[in-house]
Amino acid sequence: MVVLENVYKSYKSGEIEVKVLEGLNLEIEKGEFVALIGPSGSGKTTILNIIGALDRADSGKVEVAGVDITKKDEKELTKFRADHLGYVFQDFNLIEVFNIFENVNFPLKVIHKKRDDEKVKNLLKDIGMSDQINKFPDQLSGGQKQRVAVARALVTDPLIVLADEPTANLDSVTSHKVIELMRKMQREFNTTFIFSTHDMHLIDEVDRVLYLEDGKIIKDERK
């Protein structure tokens, strides 16, 4: 599902070049529930951004869902993201002026030009939010917002959902609930989930943990 071969990525910070990934190799199978764990600056977000076609590797091969995305232009990448990927963000990033139903429906209606209210309602039922579809994001707790964000990521049936620190702004109980929800969804839809975290308490709930340090995988633990 995801193949990264000899991937390099560096950023310029003023005059200094910061090497983030140095010859990274990684393979993730379809339907895996993977956690990227490591300290700040270890390259978790960069890996997610590269897999998520939001950022480009300086060199190396990046194959996602069988497509070599390093050769795609911006327009093609936009379509690729819309067709194959779902995203969950640390800050939830829900559209403030849309209610819960409209937020989940947005990718379906605006990007895929489809109308499937039943699907949206079922998804909201799955995440336990069916009684709050008319509420707006500012009326929800952090955990509820993140559950809505998970539903939004799944509404277009993506092959992969990428979540960058989805629990960073949540307390430990809510964090577990969100990860449990993601796990449930991964099993229900057989979607590949890759998320980053620095919370070691969450690793019990995943199939595979990739430990990162200085842009390298120092340990690949399968459960």
Binding site: L54, T78, R81, F98
Partner: protein
Amino acid sequence: MESFKIAFRNLVRMGRRTFLTGSLIAIGVVFVVLYITYAQSFKNSMIAQITDSVMGELQIHKKGYVSSLDSLPLDKNLGPKVIKKIEEKLNSMPEIYSYSERLKFGGMISNFTDSTNIRLNGIDPKMEAKTLPLLKERLTGHLPRVGEIAIPELIAKGLHLKIGDVVVLVATNKNGSMNAKTLKISGIVGIVSGPGGRDGYINLKDARKLLRIKKPEINEIVIKLKNPDMLQKTYKKLFKFVKENKKPKLEVHTWVKLSPFSNIVKMLNLMTFSIEIILISIVLVSILNVMIMSVYERIKQIGTMKAMGTPKSFIVSMFVNEGMLLGIFGFIIGVVLSVVLVFVIGDIHYSFGRQSNLELVPVIDLRSVVSVGVMVILISMLASLYPAVKAANLKPIDALRS
């Protein structure tokens, strides 16, 4: 539809900012609508005064008459044959409401103790009254029948004359021979700015007798149209007609050519345009400012949308719609305020030249309001376009990092 929904709800969410920006646009709209309303009323009232009480909308003369109008020449009169030809043409044109034939000349008027110069129009009172319907509003008394004269207000004051008094009129004909006639004052004519605005009137028959003209000659035909908007179209038709007439050569002029007020109209139009430019600037700057702020505030939202694969066109339309709705909001508030202000200010009384106590009745012109509305909405959309395109071109990674 979704982009409209986001745009509208964002404006509602940022209520205070929407209100402030909308108010700024509204003030601009009020300024322009009030200016256009009163300037248009002033323009229309002055044009009506000139065309409906002095010179009509079009005039036909023998070629060269207008260029020597100051000396009121009598050697450029139109004879019976050509008058008949012109009458036939005018009678055949459905756009012409009426016309009046005049014999203009200069002379001396005396109250038997004092005398002064006077410019006179020899007229047929019925034709003149029909062609210049506002003339009766300027006139105290009535238009002159045979043996009567209507004198301008200035002369009445200068020579201490009143209706019913008898005066002597002295004039020189085209051969240099002088003649005099005693006439009774039938009316006093109020002054109007512009050429012909201080003229007196006598009956056409008396004018011919005084000037010893045996044939029914005239030197001016004043034309009133059914619809003043047909001015240029009718002018073109008559221009073609007078060009085809070789003997004698004729000329036709619109009131715009004959009256210096047309320059004031040009000035008013230029000022209206300048004020519209100010409005455009207000709308452009305020919308641009707000939309740039809006893009920066929602940069993460844009990043999220772009990450999800939202097309650029949707992001552009989201911001352009927001700017457009803001423009519409400001415009509607502006129009409502303008209507209220026009109602509160009401009629304005003013003086123009020697004319005093003129009344300006403001009428909000729907066409002008619509054109201001279209302008405001288009400029609002245009001003939103730059921030919208900037937002749409953001890289999702950069937007999400911000």
